[in-house]
Symmetry: C3
Subunit: 463 residues, 3 copies
């Protein structure tokens, strides 16, 4: 077997028993997936997933960044290739390097998929690469492995995608109109029309105008267009926005200043500081709109995107070369908090890639401001040690109820059960520790395990 039933539970036998008991209470709960990057098209079309390499290697930058770091070329992995020429060869390369993932969460997620979905019992290696390939390829053709069947068997109660305001959302409409009983909702991610440094920003703003019938050459029309776009998302069940800025900077410009700055950034005449100021002002505008329309706001700052220049020039955005940077919240959020910090009806979920801010800035902020909550440990930190550090550094100041449960945040649809299972296990391991040293009663821990798995996410995202 690839997986042990006691995996990720504490070593001490007494504490392990508590963790296991807690886990049994939440193991079978439906999955709430309020933040992720699956494609609505998969469920609209419901076509079989392609071959194993296209499914597990090509789209998963956790996987290919590790192989790349150890000297495997992206060309050999056919990364960025629309029609893979030799997926079996790519799979063999992956299999022969699978040992690199020892000690990483990727290995735990993949082993879960391999065992639970494909019935594998021996760990992937060069030796059994073809066997894996054949079994997986075969199963992917069966009805049980169609996207909608998997959605149902994963026991998903609700799942969200992440979408540009310029997206037609036709796939979401198609799902809704298909009569298939499910809940797949869009999330409003406006980076492409609010970040002057996004590729094609000015054209995107023009498209937004065309799409909404508003005059996006002027600040007022631009804001109206964004409001209209949000309304269009809400009509399809969207409950949240998401903002992936380089920093958490917010601003509070006068309407005149903002209009002037907007003219400058759209014309491409802004320098780096002005671009940053515009993004900062747009976070504040998004908060203002959230207060109006009730969309929960997610801020995902702190990543230097596309850090590897050659990879970016050759392969484009989002190729596993994003590197976190130290992130300030205490000063950056202040302009927005001055305006809206005390609004009980506004909900802003903060994420970070800079763990030094957990106890220093984020927990104190969320433990005070009514509008703030903390997103779970994110990206490089959605791992057993990463999740444990999040709990240990955040809970003592912010408590459990200023957090929002787990996000799987994945492009890899098949990994969703694996990721939620890992989170449930680590949450229970943490709670078991608190019970074991008598900081919590076991009955409270049962309630909190349920909250961390289900209740907090559902309420925080208004799902």
């Amino acid at each position: 077997m690839l997986l042990d039933d006691n995996r990720l539970f504490p070593a001490d036998p007494g504490t392990r028993t508590i963790a296991k008991t807690l886990y049994e209470q939440v193991r079978g709960l439906p999955i709430i997936s309020p933040h992720g990057h699956t494609q609505a098209a998969w469920f609209a079309k419901n076509e079989p997933f392609p071959d194993p390499a296209k499914l597990f290697v090509q789209p998963d930058h956790y996987v290919y960044r590790m192989l790349y770091s150890q000297g495997v070329s992206l060309d050999d992995l056919e990364i960025g290739v629309a029609e893979m020429k030799d997926p079996r060869k790519v799979w063999r390369i992956f299999a022969s390097h699978y040992y690199l993932f020892r000690g990483t969460p990727t290995r735990v997620w993949l082993d879960f998929c391999f065992q639970e979905l494909f019935g594998m019992e021996e760990r992937l290696s060069e030796k059994n690469a073809d066997h894996y390939y054949d079994v997986i390829a075969e199963k992917l053709k069966t009805p049980e492995f169609l996207p909608r069947a998997l959605y149902d068997s994963f026991h998903l109660e609700v799942m969200t995608t992440t979408d540009s305001p310029l997206d037609s959302l036709d796939d979401h409409k198609a799902i809704r109109d298909s009569g298939w009983k499910s809940r797949i909702l869009p999330t409003f991610r406006p980076d492409s029309v609010v970040d002057p440094e996004f590729v094609g920003f000015a054209e995107n703003v023009a498209k937004l105008g065309a799409q909404t019938g508003e005059d996006t050459t002027a600040w007022g029309g631009y804001l109206k267009a964004l409001r209209a776009s949000r309304a269009r998302f809400r009509a399809l069940g969207c409950t949240a926005t998401d903002h992936g800025h380089p920093t958490a900077q917010t601003a509070n410009l006068s309407a005149t200043e903002a209009a002037e700055l907007f003219g400058r950034v759209v014309a491409g005449r802004a320098d780096a500081a002005q671009n940053e100021l515009f993004r900062a002002q747009m976070l504040t505008e998004m908060a203002r709109m959230s207060l109006e329309d009730g969309l929960v706001m997610q801020i995902h700052p702190g990543s230097v995107r596309n850090h590897n220049r050659k990879i970016f020039e050759r392969y484009g955005r989002d190729m596993g070369a994003d590197i976190p940077r130290a992130t300030n919240y205490v000063d950056a959020l202040r302009p927005m908090l001055d305006l809206f910090g005390n609004e009980k009806d506004l909900s802003i979920i903060l994420f970070t890639l800079d763990e030094s801010t957990y106890s220093r800035e984020l927990a104190p902020l969320a433990g005070h401001y009514p509008c703030l909550k903390l997103g779970p440990s994110w990206w490089f930190h959605d791992s057993p040690e990463g999740m444990m550090r999040f709990h240990e550094r955040v809970t003592e100041t912010a408590g459990f109820y200023n957090t929002v449960g787990f996000n799987d945040d994945t492009r890899a649809f098949l990994s969703i059960p694996a990721r939620h299972d890992m989170a449930r296990r680590v949450d229970c391991a943490y709670l078991a520790k608190l019970v074991s040293d008598h900081r919590l009663e076991e009955a409270e821990a049962v309630e909190l395990a349920h909250e961390l798995t289900y209740g907090l996410a559902k309420r925080a995202y208004r799902l």
Copy 2:
């Protein structure tokens, strides 16, 4: 019962036994409380504490910041109200939200008070709110719950308050003159007369002049007035100063430069950088005076005070809206260390709200400079996980003997035994870990438990 006898001890049975054995050696030691925020007036007047809400909710920003973060209004809690209108209603709100404190140190402190002082056995909730209220209100009227009786029963050996140079210290004199056998000492906290951004700074400086008979319109007279003020504190047993600056910045200006800058800040003509420079210079001046008069110097930097603008405008200072910021020590302290760093007779205790500096800057600094020691984990970090992280990140470089034991740092007098008990338990848990994996002998751990509980604080604060 609300509390288990084994709380906060390690889960592993062998290690737990060691922790428990160590704890039994220090459980009964007298309390040294060298840094805190209780009111001398309570002990001067020795009047009964008021009702439960006024005692546990209104003054404790750990409590009401959490309630506020979850949407409870400060008005409903009657925060900032001199005469509470409906303390029982406030108590009921608190009780019905008590579950929010799960996983926080506040819950452990409060449960300790409720059980050990008031004999409660069932956890506070909406259901038993009135019972709690009645029992506590009743007991507060009894002689055993008068401030002096509690001081005695808490087994306090010495306790310090925190006082402005402008304070008459009449309450301290009254205690001394009352014949009551106790040791309650003032601490010299000059922020109001050395920080140009403190509300009323210029008037405060003028008052200092009037109070001391020195000409505080000039730099020389200002320094003399501060010396006189320190002497007045020392005459009442004061052994330490305390400095709550936004940063740890120090400076080394010439007398001419300092005099010129003083003129500017007192006249209100200084900009933010000049205000910061003045605070920096004043840390150096305070160190110079400490070298003369032997007062131990405490530096508590790194908090952005009154971060919530609306709360500050409505309720004033110190309403639970202080948020830490990244803090630099290695460059900031250098001007002062260049002057006094090698003085064996000077003792400066450094605190931080930025845990990333524990191992990076603070332990290396304290492990080298004779004048530096490290204060315990502070504020958001005086919690089980916070104290453990402090030990784990500081001890390997600074050792135990460059630390100063525990501070309760509280306004909540009734929580003092609870806080010291938590510290003793976590200290013993840490020491037990070192014994268990053979980094210490058990006999050494016994000695160190005693030091962490009693000896280090007493010597470091010259008490």
Copy 3:
């Protein structure tokens, strides 16, 4: 006994058994010491080590910085004195303060030496100071304690020193020519000729010219001289360079700009920013040369050297007063990574003194760029807690195979077995935790224990 056989293993009995089993597999492996600061002269001359004080106190800044922080004067310890006047008195001071090292790695290293090399059974104290002194002094005169005999008995397979380009390397040649079977290799550390703020920089550059016969008054000749110097080191088996800059900043200047800047720094006309830019450019030049000649590049940034002004003025460089500072990698390395980041044949090992960068910057960088690997926890962090934090924060993102095993990094030759033993124990403790909670199979852990002890270092340093 000073040492327990189970020291540094996890407390939980099941996990301890796993750790112990793993440790038994690697306990006896030869030592690979790819980065350190021993003196080749010791092995070239093979003379007895001097007395205990000169061996254990005078050269070890871990030891005397702790004593100094607690008020022992460096004069009393005869620090910086060529011929010690009263080594026994120094030893007694050390012995009577030995309790200060409780909880520090220094104590574990020293106890290992005292027991394993000198047969001591009672912990060092004021009481047994003379006995220790006599036994150690006696043994140091025996043939078994000559440097070469110790090298052999330590089971060292290879050990490197750290050397200036201006060093004649005569001692290395003498070792090679002596016929003694050993492998002691130089490491190329060019700080003295690439850092404009190094004492004597301009003279050093001139000497480099004289030594290599190149015209180091011009940029082209200077680069040629460095190439020649590297070749000279390689001829004696050198496989790596080492760079101790204040920051990790790199640059990518044009040849013209670089030549102009070189002229300015050599002439002493550069300001602090230009000095920093020159160091930055030199890291890029060193990477370029490494790509040509195959030397592995080590970057050791982030220490404020000689922080204590009075100590520096009185005793000179490297007297235990170096303090780490927050260090940025994500922006600093980008100019060099833009050029060489994707080169598989280039190997750059990154170190840090800022643990907040482990998970935020270093693991994501090393988990992506083919040229980057992570050095082990360094200096203040080469301790049980420090090594564990390194593993826990790095492995989940970078895996094991982007790390390079252990460095002892010591001037204290006698402590080498102690340091490697500590690393092997902590590595096995970490692996045992992963096995215990089923993140690894035990067979994999055995393989990884071997890699962490031997394989990774040997391959990463091309030894």
